[in-house]
């Protein structure tokens, strides 16, 4: 954030420090450091191949379709789980926020189940669902549903009373108030939950694949390590990083489009 109302005297390096040029340069420097330390045998090249070697292998794996296939598996399961979690989380969150009786009924269950770290369920879920897709999707759903549910709930609870009363003075019934006022007013909070869960969805998909799978990028990374294909492992990790970054970018774009009205009002002070 460079807030400058008064033009500053140009100093050498001003452009470099005032933009992200410095940050990208740091990344480049770290990569060079990596490359050099491997080449000069400062670090063991068996556990750390040179960055150029990794990049080469990455492109190979991209060309022959390996990465695409593995990611197709991972992302397919991840999105099914994420979508189910969104439907359940938003639905139940809205109902709990809007109807006190549903809140009273479900809140204790939610608070009892939620604190358990999701990976702890994996052995149990394998007992019931086996090691196939349904297990991984189920694990993703369990992890993702809580942030969405709780943020939706608190979003609904924080809808200004006056907006609901305004709608009532115009003669709106319960269902119409929910649709026309509560849902749009709670949307920013719902999106906060969706963003947290998007990260969780990727994490849990990878963990589930590492525990029990024969495809997917998590399986690919673990299997590469176990069969001493260290360069493949690094290529997989880097690909995962890129995918995570792109997913977040896509999410921010969608959020910005849906909540365009919120750009000025909600984050005025931010």
């Amino acid at each position: 954030m460079s807030v400058r109302s008064v033009p500053r005297r140009r100093v050498p390096g001003g452009f470099f420090l005032d933009t992200k040029t410095s940050g990208f340069t740091l990344v480049a420097l770290l990569l060079v450091l990596w490359e050099v330390s491997v080449r000069t045998a400062l670090v063991d090249s068996i556990s750390v191949p040179a960055v150029s070697t990794v990049a080469e292998r990455f492109i190979e794996l991209l060309r022959d379709g390996t990465l695409v296939d593995e990611f197709a598996q991972t992302l397919r399961r991840m999105f099914v789980g994420y979508l189910l979690a969104a439907i359940i989380g938003i639905g139940v969150g809205l109902l709990m926020g809007y109807f006190d009786r549903i809140h009273n009924l479900l809140e204790p269950v939610v608070e009892l189940i939620r604190p358990l770290p999701t990976p702890a369920y994996i052995p149990l879920v394998i007992l019931f669902l086996g090691v196939g897709d349904s297990m991984k999707i189920f694990i993703t759903v369990i992890a993702c549903v809580w942030p969405i549910l709780l943020n939706t709930y608190s979003g609904v609870r924080n809808v200004p009373r006056i907006q609901i009363d305004t709608a009532r003075t115009f003669g709106l019934g319960n269902a119409a108030v929910l649709r026309k006022v509560v849902v749009p007013a709670a949307a920013p909070s719902v999106f906060t939950g969706l963003r947290i869960s998007l990260t969780l969805a990727l994490i849990l998909s990878i963990i589930a694949e590492m525990v029990a799978s024969n495809n997917g990028i998590g399986y690919f990374i673990l299997f590469a390590q176990r069969s001493f294909r260290v360069t493949d492992m690094y290529a997989g990790i880097i690909a995962l990083g890129i995918i995570g970054y792109l997913l977040n970018l896509l999410f921010v774009r969608i959020e910005g489009r849906v909540l365009h009205w919120n750009a000025g009002s909600g984050r005025k002070g931010a």
Binding site: P160, I162, Q163, D165, T166, A167, R168, T169, F170, G171, L172, A176, K180, V181, P184, A185, A187, W261, N262, G264, S265, G266, K268
Partner: protein, 290 residues
Amino acid sequence: MMNWIRERRAGYGLHAVGVDEAPTLRVEQVTKQYAGHTAKAPVQVLAPVDLTLEPGSFTTILGPSGCGKSTLLQIMAGLVAPTDGTISLDGRAVQGPQPELLYLFQQYSLSLFPWRTVLQNVAFGVESRGRRSAETLDECRSLIERVGLKGYEGHYPWQLSGGMQQRVAIARALVARPKILLMDEPFSAVDALTREELQDELLGIWQEYDLTIVFVTHDFEEAIYLSQEIVVLKAHPGAIVEKRAVPIAYPRNQLHTRASEAYLALRHDLHELIFSLKKKPGAGVPVGAP
């Protein structure tokens, strides 16, 4: 005062038709108690209140803060249920919000929907009545123009000043074609100049749309300037202590009206009355206390 109303309506020929006429709003023996926070006994906010609002009248409920005037208005709007007593429209007892009535909130900036533009906010007034169409959108546009916001249709509420937000809230209310407008200190948060502008616009709208207006304020000058009748409430518990007709003809003028003898005399009386009410000791009196 009643003569004046009759004359005005006779002039429009409305009393003969009676179709578009506002219903008579009657408040009968309305009380309100809230469960006390510290005291075990409930707190009486409103002692039995009786009030009749004739079609086309402009009445102000005046009182110090905490006298229950907002509660009374919310009871009339159907937003708060009275502990006892009835609200009726033309003799028909009603509960809950009624289509003939619209309540305007004091915190207008919160009552506008931030995800809707000015036009969409105003359109809410027709959507809710299930009449959104191309014609009603034109109606919304002309009302936006009527309240002086032409060119701001696509703006979001946070892009507007407080006075402009209040105008949007008024346009949204008018488009729903209410007969009775209940306004809770609508101009208390805007600057003095904007307040005078809004007061005059409100009087214009009142006459143009033939509305019944019930206006709540703690500002007795505003009460005199706007209304035909002033109902003074005291606090603990809220009860009507006086009803005063305002013997000043319309149209009123910010300079001349406020300098007129009738205005000054009434201002003097109300000033004394309000301050005498404030001096009286008054903690919340629990029900049943001696």
